[in-house]
Symmetry: C2
Subunit: 323 residues, 2 copies
Amino acid sequence: MSLGSASKAINAPAAVREKTRVAVEAAVRKLGYIPDASGRALASRQSRTVGIILPTISNVVYSAFVHALHKVLAGHGYPLFVLAHEYDADLEAAYVRELIGRGVDGLVLIGTDHRAQVHDLLAASATPHIFAWSIDEAPAFNALGISNHRAMEALADYLISLGHRRLSMITGAVIGNERARARVKGLEDAVARHGASLATVLEMPLTIEGGRVGFAEWLARKDGATALVCATDLQAAGALDQARLAGVRVPQDLSVTGFDDIEFAALLSPPLTTIRMPIDQLGHDVGAALVALMQGGAPFASRELHTGLVVRASTAGPVSSPK
Amino acid sequence: MSLGSASKAINAPAAVREKTRVAVEAAVRKLGYIPDASGRALASRQSRTVGIILPTISNVVYSAFVHALHKVLAGHGYPLFVLAHEYDADLEAAYVRELIGRGVDGLVLIGTDHRAQVHDLLAASATPHIFAWSIDEAPAFNALGISNHRAMEALADYLISLGHRRLSMITGAVIGNERARARVKGLEDAVARHGASLATVLEMPLTIEGGRVGFAEWLARKDGATALVCATDLQAAGALDQARLAGVRVPQDLSVTGFDDIEFAALLSPPLTTIRMPIDQLGHDVGAALVALMQGGAPFASRELHTGLVVRASTAGPVSSPK
DNA sequence: TTGTAGGCGTTATCAT
DNA sequence: ATGATAACGCCTACAA
């Protein structure tokens, strides 16, 4: 029996006589043969693989997304390779290169703000790809996500409707991150629209610790704000903890909000008022859209998914001004 | 100029004349050339890549580990490909196959309990690999982690020293998971040693929701336990939340414990008594050991890392028996 | 249905 | 220091 027949027996068992198929299967088992993906990819020009490049794997909101995405992709026989660049735009570009060089059939990127080189690489290689998460500053095609701007406006509207007139914010670094930018902008716009004021905007790491440090710094400024808006639930969790340590009562002395509605948001004390990211739906839709693209579908018009305001106990009307 | 020279200019810039190097660099930039990893892997027999296969990406304790591991591997120029099998042993084996087929230079697996096929694959391909997390039921070589058994004994000793005589446990599925097994066994052994008793052991998913359901079921049994030991912080978080809903006061009516000491453990209410996993150290050590292996080092004797008991407010002596 | 042969993009060997 | 050439393992025509 020839090499070619063996190849066929493995990849198209139907196009081969039962006898040779069985023979090949036996040999495979006996020899512990594992097809070499490199040879296969080289010859067939495809890898049956999709990659996703995350800002970080340490924020559960991203790992929850990977989880949801994984489910639909695995159903189509695509293993999902995960890479994290830790908010380093150059590293992200390097990873895009790496993955394209590896011949991934599809690629998922988070957000819409990437190095120009990333777009060049994607275009030159014609790799099917999706920009997931955000439609702020989105290209006309292949972006699937929420409007961070609108979501934050809705949150601000709510706080202002409670009677807050002076707000402050802890955000993440805005360069290279349109989500952070749009959240700040949404808050600014809502505040301006209502004639309220934005006292302080602090840039901190998008982590629990970042929220802790941000809260401490905000407190030291005594800026008179009665509500503290955080760019993520992680930061809000840190801020809440630091508030407790500092003796600032939430929500009596200060309202605190997050963004994402991670599972832990409801378990904090007090439970966190936040914006719900439709993570499962996003994972599902991105997976489906990517599969369509990989099967030769045309680029799709950028599509918006909707968020919701989740009111819990970390917000209330202002009564006394905080320390 | 020949193809061979171009290859050298890219991979060993020092072994080539400055002039040709510059020429190649210019051409690379001009053409937007990306080396094809398949061809490269095929010819060189190595991929400069390492893979890690996780039980799940949804438990922060694993993503924190990936984060730590990533840091040391990236420093050596190895991108880390992450796969998650969601506690499906067959899928894990398939992924091992997949990664070996892809020619990863190194592989990290979680825990020591894997399909026999996994060990065969690893041996046949001579892929450098490490079993991270646990030394329970560990092979003599290449395992690096904690003793779940001893850690749980220490926790149980502590609870019993508080005066608890009747304990119950929520664990994860124990088949295919030596960590869950060792944690149950550690509790059983400590209880037996002190002449205390283990009222109920419930197998639940290793998630927040699993903890919620487990708590509800435990409560319905009215088994008289005064302390509820959970196999992970995630389960404990769910149990705590469900206790609050059910009006069971922690720690007055019931002590609750976790395992892992994830960042959120300190932010729950009440803050969780738990076992600290030395995640950063584990990530660092596993990374260093794997690099050594990939550079041709000999297999290393399995090594134990140490855990610590973290006492917070979710535990206290038994006063009244719970509802 | 099966065998044969060429080539995928890269590196490695060996002369030059 | 460079150029030619033979692999690497697999797939895919195409011929038998």
